[in-house]
């Protein structure tokens, strides 16, 4: 898998992948993203359904089980690699921003 090809992740995908470091179902992911971002990022059900479909096709998340019409997903090994690469990029950007900051 070419990790670089999948970067940069959209804000929604990034947060969804972070939330799926622990196995979770859709609504729990929405609540977690809301909490993690301090309410700045809210994911609607249409967006999340599409994100699940795409991320599963790309092999970044995998289905753990289905219970009560809810699918529980978790981050795959490839997903973890993509998240790590995205974080490395974000750190570079942050570092560059800090270094050029005028005081």
């Amino acid at each position: 898998m070419n990790v670089e090809k999948l970067l940069p992740l959209s804000e929604a995908s990034f947060y969804v992948l972070l939330a799926l470091r622990e196995p979770s179902h859709g609504y729990a992911v929405m609540q977690q993203v809301d909490a993690m971002s301090g309410g700045a990022v809210r994911i609607g059900p249409g967006t999340l359904y599409g994100a699940f479909t795409t991320l599963e096709k790309q092999g970044l998340i995998e289905l753990v089980r289905e219970a009560d019409r809810r699918k529980v997903f978790k981050l795959s090994a490839s997903g973890a690699a993509v998240v790590a690469a995205q974080i490395a990029r974000l750190e570079l950007m942050l570092k560059a921003a800090r270094e050029t900051e005028t005081t």
């Binding site: 929604a12 599409g50 019409r69």
Partner: protein, 183 residues
């Protein structure tokens, strides 16, 4: 006893946002959507208290998926109608609350593309059908001969043309909407 009303409204799939606004207007006047039939044209409303209800159309990749339904229901949406693979979801809006089913540009773009593909299928699907009809059944001769057969023929031909023209307009409109989305 709650009053009911039926309303016919012709709208095309590329006008789904205008249609959502119209449903919201009806709810603010106390008429809440109960069901939709006839490929989205016949609406049944029930009289109730005026309410600020948000209506949103979605065209999911798979039309029947329990996981999809559950995800929307968990997020507080209720499905008020389903027709030709399209789902109409409703949720009461609290004062100042932003209520959306699509919350980012990539997913909105994907929905627009699905609508555009459906328009192209309608447009391109009709061409071979019409061509087959004209070449095999002598429709063109019927059209030029006059009489009731010709009238019926012209009506069908006119209907196809209006659907085709609308699909062209819709395809262009969807292309503009996709282009105008922020990068």
């Amino acid at each position: 006893m709650h009053a009911l009303k039926r309303r016919w409204k012709l709208w095309w799939i590329w006008q789904e946002e205008e249609h959502e606004r119209w449903l919201e207007q009806q709810s603010r006047a106390g008429w809440h959507l109960e069901s939709i039939g006839w490929a989205g044209m016949l609406h049944r409303f029930r009289k109730g208290e005026p309410d600020d209800i948000c209506y949103r159309w979605d065209v999911p990749e798979r039309s029947k998926d329990a996981h999809y339904d559950q995800l929307f229901e968990d997020a507080g949406w209720r499905r008020v109608a389903r027709t030709v693979g399209w789902h109409c979801w409703a949720k009461t809006r609290l004062p100042g609350e932003a209520v959306e089913i699509f919350t980012d540009i990539p997913s909105l773009r994907r929905k627009h593309r699905v609508i555009q593909q459906q328009l192209l299928i309608i447009l391109l699907g009709g061409i071979p059908l019409l061509a087959m009809q004209m070449s095999s059944s002598g429709l063109w001769e019927d059209l030029t001969q006059g009489g009731p057969v010709a009238v019926a023929g012209w009506v069908i031909f006119g209907l196809y043309l209006s659907v085709a023209l609308s699909s062209v307009v819709g395809t262009v409109r969807m292309w503009q909407r996709i282009r105008d989305l922020p990068a």
